[in-house]
Symmetry: C2
Subunit: 348 residues, 2 copies
């Protein structure tokens, strides 16, 4: 029999139904990405094609002398939101409400190399991508019109990406999405009730149990969440309480790079280069020092397609138990540590 | 500039960004379905293979004498939830909450014909499918353990389906998803505040404006919602207030069949057999006569893939304005009405 579990951070329910993993699938499998060239003349993110993107807002140069770059950030050419003067909410009749689409939508071009996805980058390079994430986060949060900043990454067609060149994105919105409001409300209520951060308590409980822990470092815990929405959903949670990625100490970005790269490397090997989404969750920009929210990174492999039931009910059906997949990830780490391909020690 | 719009029924925001429709797509297009045979020996839903499914819970026979069937309903062989004794919530520590996966997960096999999707069925046959929907809904709601019943349909790989034979599904859960709770809360609050059903008021306003109305019949309005989440998202809303599809008068199912089939036919022709999800939204089973919720059907074409931003923030980016797509649908109806292929008159 399957199991219904509730995510304590969202109160959302998932159905864990490993039996369903056996159902016949006529749909094409997401295969290993085709071999890609390291440079593609038609790719707007490849070196030499810089004029095909809007002007840079940030760059990490290859060296002080060089005009080459290691990471570039540019406004999205097909931006969902663009900078501008904030305008008041418009009411159309007494039901419909709208607002001009101001904000920011940027692309972090992670590397000049067309065919080096994050799991295959060096730790040093992943750190540079994280530096760019944080630089742009902190630059945009100074604009008080922008209430929430989402940093995310889509890898593989099934994740919704439209370009293969390794890139992440950042969207800053003049409103806070109700789903985030809800998470903040839940965390705030818990804080009022218990006097602690929900996520700090969650980490304590998870570390005691151990079965869903993949690994931990000085600053981070890698875990598969209790009410995991998709096989191999993985959370990277900082141990120290902090509500916003914007305030995370730069000196620890190298450690985060190691945690992120090794996690993605295991997923890449174990699931054969899966499509996935990565999201960095922080609190609202106006309240970065709040005591109840706790920033973290979620990685959600897209091995199945969200279907009508999930779209309608918001209840996800997951065909793998997080205890099992966390064990698989520990096995991966163990093997690759021996082979010198990762540096994280799996939890025991 | 794009536009942010709030859905009055969920308070969720969408970004309407038609400019983004121009961005380059390297991803493979969802093409017209391959030519399919009308019978497939390996399909568990095709006639002759009835033994490959669990025992029927409902059938509409082809005729009284015949052993042939027109619609069959069977438990899902790979059910996410199965019937059983309800068991109490289990608390694991003070954060984690779970429940045995009891409930129901059924498949409505819509037709014996492997290659006749709903837009190509006769009105009479679509009505039979709707009769099966309602029969099973009403049979399952008598089990007081089951708090919510979702009827849905996935068509095309991009919708999350695993089998091509035309089918719908029904999931009955022992909990109510928070996203539905939220919708009910919003509708209830509106009712307390204004004294009217939110959806009844929404229909009045939409009919006055007219620009998002595709068509209307005696009992139904077909519209593209104000804060449409995806291009060509279409709602079928009954004009008379009623909280549950379970109570919808059987004498009007023929009209609903006509509305549904013609809508799907236009989408099929206009979008070249798109993948889509269809969801029937009702109130909770315990409160079917409530004055504030209003059942309806949502059809959501899956022309793009949900990506990290949507997964993270719950804010959808839609590249088409509902006013434009509603106009396109009216044009389709006009043309096909002339050709005798539909029977609905487009709104003027």
């Amino acid at each position: 029999m399957s199991e219904l579990r509730q995510d304590p951070t969202t109160k959302a329910w998932v159905i864990l139904a490993p039996e369903r993993a056996k159902r016949p699938q006529q749909r094409p499998k997401v295969g290993r990405a085709e071999e890609l060239p390291d440079w593609d003349a038609s790719c707007p993110f490849c070196p030499g094609n810089e004029s095909q993107t809007p002007d840079e807002v940030f760059r990490l140069p290859a060296s002080e002398q060089s005009s080459a770059w290691e990471v570039r950030v540019v406004p999205n050419r097909f931006a969902a939101l663009v900078p501008g003067e904030d305008s008041p909410m418009v009411e159309e009749g007494h039901l419909f409400r709208k607002k001009a689409g101001i904000g920011a939508h940027e692309v972090i071009i992670e590397t000049p190399s067309h065919n080096t996805p994050m799991p295959l980058m060096s730790y040093e390079h992943v750190e540079k991508v994280l530096i760019a994430y944080q630089e742009r986060y902190n630059a945009l949060k100074r604009n008080r019109q922008l209430k929430y900043i989402t940093i995310f990454k889509n890898h593989g067609w099934a994740s919704g990406t439209s370009l293969v060149h390794p890139h992440s994105q950042l969207v800053a919105t003049p409103i806070v999405a109700p789903s985030y409001h809800r998470e903040f409300d839940i965390a705030h209520e818990y804080y009022v009730d218990v006097g602690e951060c929900l996520y700090c308590d969650l980490l304590t409980q998870e570390l005691e149990k151990g079965e869903r822990i993949v690994a931990q470092t000085e600053q981070f815990v890698i875990l598969h969440p209790y009410a995991s929405r998709a096989p191999y959903e993985t959370w990277l949670v900082p141990k120290k309480h902090l509500a916003s990625f914007g305030l995370f100490a730069g000196m620890y970005l190298a450690e985060l790079a190691r945690v992120l790269k090794d996690t993605l490397f295991c997923l890449y090997q174990r699931l054969d280069n899966p499509a996935y989404n990565l999201v960095v969750d922080s609190t609202i920009t106006e309240d970065e020092e709040d005591p109840y929210y706790h920033w973290h990174i979620r990685i959600i492999p897209r091995l199945t397609t969200l279907a009508g039931f999930e779209m309608g009910s918001g209840i996800y059906i997951n065909t793998a138990m997080p205890e099992d997949t966390a064990g698989q990830m520990r096995n991966c780490l163990r093997r690759f540590l021996k082979e010198g391909k990762v540096s994280l020690t799996p939890a025991s």
